[in-house]
Amino acid sequence: MIEVNGLAKRYGTTLAVDRLSFTVQAGVVTGFLGPNGSGKSTTLRMVLGLDRPDAGTARIGGLPYAGLRWPLREVGALLEARAFHPGRSARAHLSALAASNRIPDSRVTQVLELVGLADAGNRRTGAYSLGMAARLGIAVALLGDPPVLLLDEPVNGLDPEGIRWLRELLGSLAAQGRTVFVSSHLIGEMLLIAQRLVVIRQGRLLADESVAQFASRAPSVEDAFLALTATATTYRGGQR
């Protein structure tokens, strides 16, 4: 379970996340929806202890991220699509992370097979296509077989077959009782993947409900989303 309570983060004069509170339950896939620049990534980074919130708390299974004993075995995360050293093989990247959390090296082979990179595992990631990089990012998240998964735009870079594969994978992970939190700005994709939705705009919570409830707000889910988020979004670009 992920609990976000009064989370806030300001970059200069822009309030990226504004007293955001919501809970993500285990056993279902929860979509994290919002237009580009609405604060999704910032929120995820704060939940993961990468960015320090100006106010509020985020807990995973009752603990702040920094308090986890074996972080990779408790939380799996995908943040950027291509966060690998181009000169290092996928296997070496995974092995290094596995070593840090005493995850057996046999698990590296397992996740490479799981995401379909068994044959490409020893190649340098600089030569990977967008889709392969996306799959490696998912392999990293699954490395520690964690009960909680946070994936920021995991669909990016995947081809239609890969998207279906990911959808089925996330569904089965949730069915095993895991907490699966997936961000996206693509409403259509979200409806196929998620059972619950957390919707934000300009860092503020707009909705935290089931997909069915959300859909009942308007003739179509897309209409509901656009009606809810309809305000000019100002783009800030990535900040550190």
Partner: protein, 257 residues
């Protein structure tokens, strides 16, 4: 079995990262080439030198390759952190180990364990090459086990390791590989030039400038008069490295990744 992740696992992680990049091996091999070429060049140069050079003069210059070696080692240290920021892997690393100071400690451990043996071997090879190059020439030879030679080997290897650790600290502070390499090179070269502009006062300060310590205290069999002893110079370099790493650790903990 430990109940939480710790330094042992983080050291293994950093070791896998370092060894899985070609740049590491290139930098280490190039360091050896620089050391070897320096020793060989000095030996060959003194073969027909008049007047005949004393044995200590060969030993004093045999480690000249360290001037280049320090830049290569510094780059290696920088890449261990700065490379993670450039590639975007720093977040993965910190997600695996949210105690960020422990990550830097693991990097420093691996950096030391890789660079120190390579530097020791490089220095020995340089002396051996210099001695080999003066065989059957009028210059008298000096054993590699001579106390003065051994001291230059130890001091130079420790100096080079300290430069790598300074690079590591700069990488953590600047978070940009190219920027940190630039800062390191500037830090090695510029103080030397500035010290040279101030005559007597400059000499007093230049005793603490890395490049000057290397040339006047560390690679030589006896320190140039008015400069630090080899041990003191190594201690000063170590303090630079510790300072850099401490600032790096504080910033790493404080800043968003």
């Amino acid at each position: 079995m430990r109940t939480t992740y710790g330094l042992g696992g983080l050291v293994r992680m950093e070791w896998i990262k370092v060894r899985s990049l070609r740049s590491t091996w290139w930098l280490l091999v190039m360091t050896w080439v620089a050391m070897l070429a320096g020793g060989l060049g000095v030996g060959l140069g003194y073969r027909s030198h008049t007047p005949v050079a004393p044995a200590t003069q060969i030993a004093n210059n045999a480690l000249a390759g360290a001037v280049l070696g320090q830049l290569l080692f510094g780059a290696l240290g920088v890449l261990m952190v700065g490379g993670e920021y450039s590639a975007g892997t720093m977040r993965s690393t910190v997600l695996a180990a949210p105690r960020r100071a422990a990550v830097l400690a693991a990097k420093a451990t691996v950096c030391t364990c890789v660079t120190l043996p390579v530097a020791l071997l490089g220095c020995l090879m340089a002396h051996a090459a210099a001695q080999l190059a003066i065989t059957s020439s009028p210059v008298s030879r000096l054993s590699l086990l001579d106390g003065r030679v051994v001291r230059t080997v130890l001091a130079t290897a420790l100096y080079l390791t300290a430069v790598a650790l300074i690079g590591l600290g700069l990488g953590a502070i600047i978070r940009h590989a190219a920027g940190a390499v630039g800062a390191l090179f500037a830090g090695i070269v510029i103080p030397m030039i500035i010290a040279g502009m101030f005559g007597e006062a400059g000499i007093a300060v230049s005793r603490f400038v890395p490049m000057m310590m290397l040339a006047n205290s560390i690679i030589v069999t006896a320190p140039v008069s008015g400069t630090l002893s080899a041990a003191a110079a190594v201690a000063v370099m170590t303090s630079y490295a510790v300072t850099g790493l401490t600032i790096g650790a504080v910033l790493l903990r404080r800043r968003d990744v």
